[in-house]
């Protein structure tokens, strides 16, 4: 996945590299997901619950015959939970399994210079820092870059 992220970097004529970021909102915050990490963006659909699963797991969906584990970003980030039947799925692949991150809405794809990426401020809550490693400034707005791999690595190991 890290490679994919790098592959999303375009070379600008003047040598500056650009990164394509899909913007999404969760709660009142804008988050970005590197475009090449996102395998699918899906409309709301019924989610099969998994009993006894951690609260941040919304359940499972069927994506063309493959089972996708749905992760409730709102819950993970500490926002109030929303109706999962109205939330969009951003699907990523991690170590051969598919995961979907539930977001409130999906916005545009923005191209931002890689240089605009800054490290995440250390005063964010630990839960946030597990999934967000970098912050971007774009058009006067802060976009927190979601790194699914980082979170999933953490979750799989527990």
């Amino acid at each position: 996945m890290q490679q994919n992220t790098n592959a999303a970097v375009d070379e600008m004529p003047d040598g500056e590299s650009l990164q394509q970021i899909l913007t999404t909102t969760v709660g009142n915050q804008t988050f970005g997901i590197p475009v090449l990490c996102a395998q699918d963006i899906l409309r709301p659909r019924p989610i099969a619950r998994v009993q006894q699963a951690e609260a941040y797991v919304s359940g499972l969906i069927n994506l063309r015959g493959r089972i996708v584990t749905v992760i409730d970003l709102r819950h993970w980030l500490g926002f109030e939970s929303a109706d999962a039947n109205e939330q969009m799925h951003v699907v990523m692949e991690f170590e051969g399994d598919l995961y979907s991150f539930l977001v409130d809405s999906v916005g545009d794809v923005v191209k931002v210079p890689t240089a605009a990426v800054e490290a995440v401020p250390p005063n964010l809550p630990a839960q946030w820092r597990m999934v967000i490693k970098n912050v971007l400034r774009h058009d006067g707005e802060l976009i927190l870059i979601i790194e699914g791999d980082a979170l999933l690595t953490e979750l799989s190991n527990n």
Binding site: A48, V50, I61, N62, I67
Partner: protein, 910 residues
């Protein structure tokens, strides 16, 4: 050996086809070392293998051919067309012999000396002259007449047929990994032969074993050539291709299911026929593809004879290994997974199970022990039995180990039945081998075996009779990829339960034959004389319970068996079974042990697959508690004979039971005769006032004309227990299977085929004739005399409750305590008793220690002490007397106890 031979022929035929082509290439590029290397290696393999299989004629021919090829390779001989012709002739001869072996199973008679001489001449003569060539050709033509004709008329067709049959029978040849194994195994075996035969023909340089590079090159070359090999009817296919095919078929099955789901309910539609066809073809395809993955279990056994042989030599044992059902097929994935467990268990049998010849003779058994391996199909499963006729498990030693390793407290371990004790060898870190040999006892034990088997949804059972042997039965599914599952619904959720763990479905409803009964809120089902613990799936998984009355609703119990426990899962609804493709859950969900995977159903929805093992484990705490307690009581009363029991209805409709010996009389007392006084219900009965108590904690009687009453007599005093209805008197054993926390009952047992609560009569004696009552009681009843006091020490609640009333009837004032510690506390508190009755097997301080403590010190030094034990060996009895017990009585011998008490007291008085 037959299988080996067939495999060899299949492989050799394939190799020969390659050699033909390689030789032709060689002729064109005489100096291509790689080609030479390949040919040499192939011939070498053939030669080596036939040496191993005892095919002498073939070996000689191949050997001579190999020598020539060796010279080619080393550059000592030019690759001339003449030489190649002779080599080809040699190859043809090998082929002829092979096809004859295929037909008859043994080497044909024949004279190869000419051919061999030609080859040898080629080797010796620096330049094979015209004569040699002529001789060669003439020989070839002569041979051709014999050879090719047989080939054409019989060889080829028969061979093809044979190959087809062979494949159908084994399915092994096409799978490259497996098929190539024997070849690799064989080679090292063959090399000594190579050397020795090389030494015979002095003129030859010793043949080198093929180097690794050659091996690799050779491996690659046949792969390229394979498509053009038309003569062989078996191919080797990369496992990945098969796996991929399997996945695709799985998806096809899903799509098919989806389609079927969509048209279900429409009886008459235009798709019916093509859909049916599609369905059949899909099923056939699925079976076909599954078949390609199937391998005989014998493949997993192939190494066992050698292992057993080595073991028997190393340990000086004589062991026969009998293998049956080696042709039983199962999925190669599963085969791989059970290989190690099987090997481990056979090792175990050979190492621990079987005795040395001297021991066996001493035990009156035949000198050589037998290990039996038996595999067969049974209802969608493969059963593999590994049995030996050795010494069996030493349950006593396992018990000691359980105590040593602190897996269970001593009392717990003592209370286990032999069968239960045996199961502990599956406990992690358990090895009873007294010495750790290089064979077993390396810490990897039966627990690993069990884990491995359970991982593939199999189960393992063990049965052992000391002195007679051990049988381990493994039940494994045929395949893992697609399983048949039962779909159930609980609340609004659907789940799949693997069909192989489902024993039966029971529909339950109130007032029906099968109804869910509750013991302390724990649901149980009484099914054919067995109390089955039930698990409410909604509670287990924390499903919402919108309907509080669901307890009374009709529901289904899925009777499920895992490893060694059987339980029922309560669900709301049962749909049909469906073939599902098991998909593993993502790693972040893997910690949920109730699920073994997830799947996509025909309708596209995702559902979870329940894992019966996980469910059994997640209720394990409750379950084992119940079990241990129940087992304690059970084993305590195992030697109980059947005793007459009075069955009655207590407060409600549930049956209760009490040993008849405790009940003096049954009466029906009219309600108007019952008087109330001093908070008691009393009745004038045989000129005395008899207190009446009702069941439960209260003391009120419901309104009715008369009350059935059980009259309990307690040394002249008596009380009546008011019940709802007296049912019956039956002879049965009381095996309390569910302990009780409710006052007044000892627990529940299956009596007369129903879940029945056993009355705790001691509780009601206390309730009716408690001290306060004694104080208020009518002195005319003759209660003034000071009753002798006895102390009863027994950790079993059941026994205390059973014996206390008996002693009371005998006129004793009984103080019952559950441990020696409590008893000693009473002593230190200055209590006086005229008699002490103590159990022997107790936790912490056992009866012996208790007795020696009592005898050595304190105020009870001269108090008569009776041991009451279920163990009545001479040793125990002697030891008891030595320590200072006055008498020793078997637990089930109540008459004996009474006699003993009387005689002890008489002796003391005398």
């Amino acid at each position: 050996m037959d299988d080996l031979l067939q495999e060899f022929i299949a492989e050799a035929t394939e190799n020969l086809a390659v050699i033909d082509q390689e030789l032709v290439r060689l002729e064109q590029n005489p100096n291509d070392a790689e080609i030479l290397g390949n040919i040499f290696r192939l011939v070498h393999t053939v030669k080596g293998t036939c040496g191993f299989l005892g095919l002498g004629r073939l070996e000689k021919v191949a050997h001579s051919g190999e020598n020539v090829l060796g010279k080619f390779r080393d550059g000592e001989l030019d690759v001339s067309p003449n030489a190649v012709t002779i080599i080809l002739e040699c190859i043809d001869r090998i082929r002829d012999i092979l096809s004859a072996i295929e037909e008859t199973g043994s080497e044909p008679e024949g004279d190869d000396s000419k051919l061999i001489k030609n080859l040898d001449d080629l080797l010796l003569g620096d330049a094979p002259g015209a004569t040699a060539a002529d001789a060669g050709t003439s020989d070839i033509s002569a041979d051709d007449e014999n050879g090719t004709i047989t080939m054409n008329e019989f060889g080829a067709p028969v061979a093809a047929e044979f190959m087809a049959e062979f494949e159908a029978a084994t399915n092994t040849a096409p799978i490259s990994q497996e098929a190539s194994t024997p070849e690799q195994d064989v080679q090292p075996e063959a090399s000594p032969l190579t050397e020795s035969s090389s030494a015979d023909s002095t003129a030859l340089p010793p043949c080198d074993a093929p180097s690794a590079e050659e091996d690799e090159a050779a491996e690659a070359a046949p792969a390229q050539k394979r498509e053009s090999v038309a003569t062989t009817s078996s191919l080797r296919i990369n496992v990945d291709v098969l796996e991929n095919l399997m996945t695709l078929v799985s998806e096809l099955v899903l799509a098919r299911n989806q389609l079927l789901q969509m048209v279900r309910g429409y009886d008459d539609h235009e798709f019916a026929v093509p859909l049916q066809l599609l369905s059949h073809i899909t099923t056939d395809l699925q079976e076909g593809v599954m078949k390609t993955r199937m391998q005989p279990i014998g493949n997993a056994w192939s190494k066992l004879p050698r292992i057993v042989r080595d073991l028997s030599v190393a340990q000086g044992k004589k062991i026969d290994l009998v293998m049956q059902g080696a042709e039983t097929e199962l999925d190669r994935q599963i085969l791989d997974l059970i290989k190690d467990p099987l090997t481990h268990m056979v090792r175990n049998s050979a190492d621990h199970g079987l005795e040395s010849p001297e021991d066996r003779i001493a035990a009156g058994k035949p000198e050589s022990g037998t290990i039996n391996l038996n595999a067969f199909h049974e209802g969608g499963h493969i059963i593999v039995e590994i049995s030996d006729n050795g010494r069996g498990l030493n349950t006593e030693r396992i018990r000691q180990k359980i105590i040593e390793k602190k897996i269970l407290p001593e009392s717990g371990a003592r209370a286990l039945s032999d069968q239960q004790v045996q199961q502990y060898i599956f406990h992690p870190g358990f090895s009873t081998a007294e010495k750790v040999t290089n064979v077993s006892g390396r810490g990897v034990g039966m627990d690993v075996v069990r884990t491995n088997i359970e991982q593939i949804n199999g189960s393992i059972d063990l049965m052992s009779v000391q002195g007679e042997g051990t049988t381990v039965t493994i039940k494994i599914p045929l395949t893992l990829a697609i399983i048949s599952a039962l779909l159930v619904k609980c609340k609004s959720e659907r789940f799949a339960i693997p069909q192989f763990s489902v024993l039966e479905l029971v529909r339950t409803a109130p007032n029906s034959e099968h109804q869910i009964e509750y013991i302390q809120q724990m649901p149980v089902l009484h099914l054919r004389n067995q109390l089955l613990p039930l698990i409410r799936l909604d509670q287990l998984l924390g499903l919402d319970d919108p309907d509080e009355d669901s307890k009374t609703e009709d529901s289904f119990v899925v009777v499920t068996k895992t490893g060694n426990s059987t339980f029922g899962i309560i669900v709301d609804k049962v749909f049909d079974t469906e073939e599902i493709v098991v998909k593993p859950v993502s790693p972040i969900l893997r910690n949920i042990k109730q699920f073994s995977g997830n799947t996509i159903l025909g309708d596209g929805s995702v559902i979870m697959i329940l894992d019966p093992n996980g469910i059994a484990a997640s209720i394990g705490d409750i379950d084992t508690n119940l079990k241990t307690k129940a087992d304690n009581d059970k084993s305590a009363s195992v030697d109980e004979k059947k005793l007459p029991l009075l069955l009655f209805k207590g407060e409600g409709d549930e049956p209760m039971a009490v040993p008849l010996v405790l009940v003096a009389r049954l009466e029906d007392i009219p309600a108007n005769e019952i008087e109330r006084s001093g908070g008691y219900n009393l009745v004038q009965y045989r000129d005395t006032l008899m207190p009446l108590v009702s069941l439960g904690e209260g003391n009120t009687l419901d309104e009715r004309e008369s009350h059935p009453v059980l009259v309990f007599a307690d040394r002249g005093r008596q009380f009546g227990l008011v019940v709802n209805e007296v049912l019956d008197i039956v002879d049965d054993t009381i095996n309390v299977e569910m302990p009780s926390i409710r006052k007044g009952t000892l627990g529940s047992a299956v009596i007369n085929g129903r879940a029945t609560e056993v009355l705790d009569s001691a509780y009601y004696i206390q309730k009716a004739l408690g001290d306060s009552f004694v104080a208020n009681s009518n002195p005319a009843a003759g209660l003034t005399g000071q009753r002798p006091r006895t102390l009863l020490v027994d950790d079993s609640n059941f026994f205390r409750s059973l014996i206390s009333p008996l002693l009371s009837v005998e006129g004793w004032d009984v103080t019952a305590v559950s441990s020696a510690k409590d008893a000693l506390a009473l002593r230190d508190a200055g209590e006086e008793f005229q008699l002490i009755i103590s159990d022997i097997e107790m936790p912490e301080i056992d009866g012996f220690s208790f007795a020696s403590n009592v005898r050595n010190d304190g105020r009870w030094q001269s108090t008569p002490l009776i041991a009451l034990s279920s163990k009545t060996t001479v040793n125990d009895i002697n030891r008891a007397h030595e320590i200072g017990f006055t008498d020793y009585v078997a637990k089930n011998d109540r008459e004996g106890l009474i006699r003993s008490i009387r005689s002890v007291l008489t002796d003391k008085a005398a």
